[in-house]
Symmetry: C2
């Protein structure tokens, strides 16, 4: 079973309005609500793909109750540690484009964090892969993911880490089996910046190798529309979609992580796994909302994904 | 006891942001939540003023649960008829000024409306005055307030109606003891429009008398900063604040209604009642949020409110 951990989930609310005019009142014509947060998107993609998945994390208050109800509606198995503070909301107001308002979210107490850790360790008994996604709520230590990665390692469970900023910086040295930074996160982690080279596969490969040297078992870096660059113990590859898919890029990274977690569970060879991940990411871009996939598109693109070994020497294990 | 009826309550959420820029994502620095809807503001003002009050209406879903929790926190006695759909939210984003997003709100079923009416009739047994405030949710008949006014009349309970549009137009002929239209509502109800005369007390008095002729026992029209114009069976008056109070006008009308309901309950003579209402309205303008009052300001202004009889002949009863 794949367990997804979402420590800072959200109630994602989308409002449709005719045109956003600052300092006016707008009647919202349509309201959409989803259980949000990167880990929940990963869980939703896995569930849609028919994979057994269990979502866990922290939820609080009436907003947390609403998130849980939405997950139940989607048929996603979940059990969250309850917290005293209210789970955050994100509001996206859509007219010709999207305007976002992100609440600061709850402050988690040390007791709640301990209770979650105990829950997590119990869950490890039935997990083969754990996915750790998204930001940390206030109150948690910056090395929260490092702690969970150590717990998982002790239980013999593989880990995928997909976060950013300090949470990523503090998590990588704990040795997650796989991290999935994007270009911004690669640059932040390595301190490198070469605007001329940006997004060139060889440059992404070099930064990913630096991140791998910090402790990650494998680094799969997303290069946006240019696909994925993977630096692993078994080799390095560039996986590209056969065509540019336009749509909603939100959630593409989460679909990619879902495919990576499944491949890690099945010990799929890297070239096959990367092609799966590129096809599923593209299928998420084509779907209207985060966490959804266009399964027919994934099946159509999958055979044509281009996976090429990269030039760099095979890194030492 | 005063009963306030809020058929379309809201969870009022206020976000503070540095500056609203369309098509960007904003981190919200502060979140404030309140139980909203005009009837709940009236209940909060009465409760703050130490008056026994019971809030009722319709609430649904996790948003409804949140509204109830906030009322409980404020110590306001309440019991709502549960509905299947989610209670609406209103989001106000504040930078240098306010930008609002109003959800369309729930659709109420005929069965839920019947159940509410039965609850309302039971409540009438312990009520002396009922306040009917705000918009009607979708699914309710336009004459919903007329129905409740007839129920109250049958039980010998006096009614205050403060709404707008079709709900007001359909409610007035049922004979509420008091309606409190503002200038826009007076114009809409009477079809009169005389921009040159707008807000002149004599003109407001004429329109209010027309509205009274439609069925209301008394009309107390708010003329904004210029105070109140009352057309009643006992005479007509203009009540003005002794000074201009600046601040947040949202909720001033609800504070006015709270004072009117209390006066109706106590059968306070109109000039005294109107002076109370003007002072409490001004005290609401000076308070930072709807439903709150600056009690010290109310006490200071109260003796200086200017109440003058108006020229029009005493209307026939």
């Amino acid at each position: 079973m794949i367990v997804t951990v979402t420590l800072n989930p959200a109630l994602d609310i989308t409002y449709r309005v005719d045109g956003l005019v600052p300092h006016r009142t707008h009647r919202v014509s349509a309201v959409d609500e989803r259980a949000g947060g990167k880990g929940l998107n990963v869980a939703r993609v896995l569930h849609t793909a028919g994979e057994p998945v269990h979502a866990t994390g922290l939820l609080g208050g009436d907003t947390g109750a609403r998130v849980r109800a939405l997950l139940d509606n989607d048929g996603i198995a979940s059990a969250f540690e309850p917290i005293g503070a209210e789970t955050r909301r994100t509001i996206t107001v859509v007219d010709s484009d999207a305007t976002g308002f992100w609440e600061p979210g709850p402050v988690v107490t040390p007791g709640e964090w301990s209770a979650f850790r105990a829950r997590f360790v119990r869950l490890l008994g039935s997990a083969s892969v754990v996915v750790l996604s998204g930001s940390l709520p206030r109150g948690l230590p910056a090395d929260a993911y490092a702690t969970l990665i150590a717990d998982a390692r002790e239980a013999g469970v593989r880990t995928v880490l997909d976060t950013s900023g300090e949470a990523l910086r503090a998590g990588v040295p704990a040795g997650p089996d796989l991290v999935k930074p994007n270009l911004d996160e690669l640059i932040a982690l390595t301190g490198s910046a070469d605007p001329d080279a940006a997004a060139a596969a060889a440059w992404v490969e070099r930064l990913a190798a630096q991140v791998r040297a910090l402790g990650a078992g494998a680094v799969v870096a997303s290069a946006g529309a240019d696909g994925l660059v993977a630096v692993t113990a078994d080799g390095t590859w560039h996986a590209r979609p056969p065509e540019i898919v336009t749509g909603n890029p939100t959630g593409a990274g989460d679909a990619c992580v879902a495919a990576l977690a499944r491949g890690l569970r099945d010990r799929t060879p890297w070239p096959t796994l990367l092609a799966d991940a590129v096809a599923l990411s593209a299928a998420a871009v084509a779907a209207p909302v985060a966490g959804a996939i266009d399964a027919a598109l994934a099946a159509r693109l999958r055979p044509s994904v281009i996976v090429t070994p990269l030039s760099q020497e095979r890194p030492a294990c």
